[in-house]
Symmetry: C2
Subunit: 406 residues, 2 copies
C-alpha cells in the first residue's frame, strides 16, 4: 500500500471508530478545537495552533452521518494552505485580520468586508452554528472539548450555540487516539529512530567540560544532519546533579562521574517520540550503580510482562514492587508510563498508574519509564516507546538499556 493510500486508510479507520462511539453515546457530531485533535480529525497541522500556540482558532467537525464530510472551519489565510489531498474534508472559512487578495481572479474575487484586529471566536463559532443548522443538527447533541477550551472561548461558544446540547468530548478523543493506525505507527517508528540518531550523534562529543547547552546543541545539529525538516519537540538533557527541566540550558561543565540524561522527543508528521537514556562520564559511583540497577530491573519487568489484557495498574504495581525490592525501597512515582503520539506535552492518557483499570490492547503505543531524580545525584532514567502486539510488546527504539560510560 502506498503512503498516500495508508494515510487515507488512517482517516477511514478514525471515522469508522468515531461514528461507532457517536452511535453509542447518541451524539450528532464531535468538534475538535485543540491543536492535536484538530489535526487528528482533519489531517491539517495548523500553524496558528502548532507554531503560534493559539487555541480555538480552527474547528474540525465530524458528523455521525457517514454521508457528511468532516468540516474544517478555519480563517481564510490559513485555509489557503489546506492540502487538496485531504479529500475526507470540506472547508468553511471565517475572516481574520489577514487579508488575502485575488488580483488574477483565481478564486472569484477577494473578500471586501471589514477585517477584525485580532481573532474573534464568536465569528468562528457562528460558522459552526450555521454548519450544524445546514446539516439539521443545530438542536442536536454535540461533543466538544469544553474542559480544554479557554474560559473566554466557552463563553463565546455558549453565546452562539444556544440550542444544541453541549457535552464534553475529551474521553471520546482519548478513546479514539489510544489505538494507533498503521500510518501512525510508521510515524512513531521514524520519530524514535530520529531521536536515537540525535542521541548517538550527541554522545560522541561528550567529554569533561561539556555542558548541557553543548549537548543540546550537538543533539539538534545531529538531528538536522540526519533528516530534513524534523524538529525536536523537547530535549530535556541534564548533566550531573542539576536534574530539573530547563528552558535555558545549563552551562556547568561535566566532571568525571556525572550522569548525563537524555529525555527527548522528535516530531514526525505530528507524532512525537518520547524516549530516555542515561550515560555516565567515566566510571559510575556505587550509588549511581545501585539506583540504575533498581530502575533497570523495574523497567525490564515492564518490558517482559506487559501485553494484551493486562490492566495498566497491575503493570504499575508489579514494576514498583520490583524497583523497591531491588535497591530503592522508597521509590515513589505517580505513573510508570503513558500513551503517546499526538500530545505536545508528550504524555497523554491512559497512564500506567496505580488506579488505571484500562487494559493494554494491541495497537496501543505507550512509553514505559522508570525515572529517578535525586538532589546531589541528578537524573537517571530509562524510557522506551513500545507497540502493544498480540503477544506482548515491541520496542520501537533500539539503543542499549545499559548504563554506558562515555
Amino acid at each position: 500500500m502506498s503512503q498516500r493510500q495508508q494515510h487515507e486508510q488512517h482517516f477511514n479507520t478514525i471515522a469508522t471508530r468515531a461514528r461507532a462511539i457517536m452511535e453509542q453515546e447518541n451524539l450528532d457530531a464531535i468538534v475538535a478545537s485543540t491543536c492535536e485533535n484538530f489535526y487528528y480529525l482533519s489531517g491539517h497541522p495548523s500553524t496558528f495552533m502548532y507554531t503560534l500556540r493559539m487555541s480555538e482558532v480552527a474547528l474540525a467537525v465530524m458528523f455521525r452521518d457517514p454521508s457528511r464530510k468532516t468540516v474544517i472551519i478555519m480563517n481564510d489565510f490559513e485555509a489557503a494552505g489546506v492540502s487538496s489531498e485531504l479529500t475526507h474534508c470540506e472547508l468553511r472559512t471565517y475572516p481574520t485580520w489577514v487579508d488575502v487578495d485575488d488580483p488574477l481572479g483565481l478564486r472569484g474575487g477577494k473578500y471586501e468586508g471589514k477585517r477584525p484586529m485580532a481573532h474573534q471566536a464568536v465569528e468562528m463559532f457562528g460558522v459552526l452554528q450555521a454548519t450544524l443548522a445546514e446539516f439539521g443538527v443545530e438542536k442536536g447533541r454535540i461533543g466538544l472539548e469544553i474542559d480544554a477550551m479557554r474560559f473566554a472561548a466557552v463563553q463565546a461558544l455558549r453565546q452562539v450555540l444556544q440550542h444544541a446540547e453541549l457535552l464534553e468530548a475529551n474521553g471520546i478523543f482519548n478513546a479514539l487516539r489510544v489505538i494507533k493506525t498503521p500510518w501512525e505507527i510508521d510515524q512513531l517508528r521514524k520519530a524514535c529512530a530520529y531521536a536515537e540518531a540525535g542521541i548517538t550523534h550527541a554522545i560522541q562529543g561528550i567529554r569533561e567540560g561539556s555542558t548541557a547547552e553543548d549537548i543540546v546543541h550537538a543533539f539538534r545539529l545531529g538531528l538536522m544532519g540526519q533528516v530534513m525538516g524534523s524538529v525536536p519537540r523537547f530535549h530535556m538533557i541534564s548533566v550531573g546533579a542539576e536534574f530539573a527541566p530547563a528552558h535555558i540550558f545549563d552551562t556547568r561543565p561535566a566532571v568525571q562521574g556525572d550522569v548525563i540524561k537524555f529525555d527527548v522527543g522528535i516530531d514526525v508528521n505530528g507524532y512525537g517520540s518520547d524516549i530516555a537514556r542515561t550515560f555516565v562520564l567515566g566510571a559510575p559511583s556505587d550509588e549511581v550503580k545501585r539506583i540504575y540497577g533498581a530502575l533497570r530491573a523495574g523497567h525490564d519487568n515492564l518490558l517482559e510482562r506487559i501485553g494484551p489484557d493486562m490492566p495498566m495498574q497491575q503493570a504499575f504495581h508489579e514494576a514498583m514492587s520490583v524497583i523497591r525490592s531491588s535497591g530503592l525501597p522508597n521509590y515513589n512515582r505517580g505513573h510508570l508510563g503513558h500513551s503517546a503520539g499526538l500530545s505536545l506535552a508528550a504524555e497523554e492518557a491512559p497512564f500506567i498508574g496505580p488506579s488505571e483499570g484500562t487494559l493494554f490492547r494491541p495497537g496501543m503505543v505507550v512509553c514505559l519509564e522508570t525515572p529517578y531524580y535525586g538532589y546531589g545525584i541528578g537524573a537517571i532514567m530509562i524510557e522506551d516507546m513500545v507497540l502493544i502486539t498480540e503477544n506482548g510488546c515491541e520496542r520501537l527504539n533500539t539503543l542499549s538499556r545499559d548504563l554506558i560510560s562515555l
Copy 2:
C-alpha cells in the same frame, strides 16, 4: 550597570508599576497562570509551560503589600530548577507525579506522600488559597487570568477560592507589558540581530530549485552557527505563490520571478523578535513591483510618522490611505502592527488598528508591518521592530527595506 543589576532593576520596575495599578484598582494581589505572564512576574521560564505547553501548572502571585515577595507556586520537580538569583521571589510547592529523592539528606528528606498520576489543578490552587490566607487576603480582591485559563481550571479555581473576589487581570498584564524595561529592550535587540543573521545566512544559498524546506533548514543552521542556544520561535518562509503559513514546509522548487518571504522570530531570554523581508529570485514582475512599491510607501509612512502621543488608530488610517493611493486601492487589513515581546503568538495588544485609541509612548516596542498575500502571487511583506523614543521611533533591525533580487 551589570546585566545582573539591570535584570534586578527590571523586576523592581515591574513591581512598582504593578503595585500602582493594584492601588488604583483596589486589588490585593495579581496571579499569573499563563506561560508568558508567569515568566514576567517570576523570571523563571517554566519548561512545563514553554516546552510541554501546559497551562495553569504554576502560579506567580504578586501582592500589593510591598513587604511581600512574589510567591511562586510550582510542582516540586520544576521548582528544583528555580535560580537562586531570583531574590524577589519565594517558592511554595505542590506534589506532582514526578518524585524527587534526597538520598544525601541535602534538603531535609524526601516527600513520602502519594503522587498523583497527572497534574492536579486543585492541589495547586489549594496552595494559592493557603498563601492568600497566610497573608490575610483570602477574602480580598484578586486579579487572575480567568479568560485565558482552560475551563476546567476555572472550575477548580472557583472550587478552592470560595471567599475571594476574583477579577480578570488580562488588561493589567497588557498595561504592564506594553512599556519595556531597559533589560527587555536589550533582549529584543539581540532577538532582532539573530533573526537578521539567520536571514542573511539563508539568502546566500537561494537559487533556482530551492524550496521553502531548504530555506528553513538554512535559516535554522545559520542561526545555530551564530549563537549558542538561541531558538527560532517561528520561521514562516514562503516561496512563490504558496503564501499560507505552513507547519510542514513546502518542497516546490523556486523558479525565476518567485517572491521569497521571510517572516521570522527568534527567542532571547523569553523575548521574541518578529520581522519580515521579501526577496525575489531574478527580476520581479511588474505586478510584484507595483505591490511592493505600495506596501513600501505605507511602511515608510509608519516609520516616519509614529512617535509619542499619536493614537495608534491614526497611524493605521494614514498608512492605509498611503498604501491605497500608491497602487493597491483595495488593500485590506485588520491591523498594521502590534506590541511584541513575550507573546509566543508573536502579536500582542495593543494593535495598530482602526479603532485602537492607545497612544504610542516611549519605551513601547512595536512591530510595524504591511503584509500582502495574493493567490497566484504569494506573500510580500516588510516588517520592522521599533522602539518608541522621545521623538519618534528607532528600528531595532537593520536590513534594507528594498525588494532585493537574489
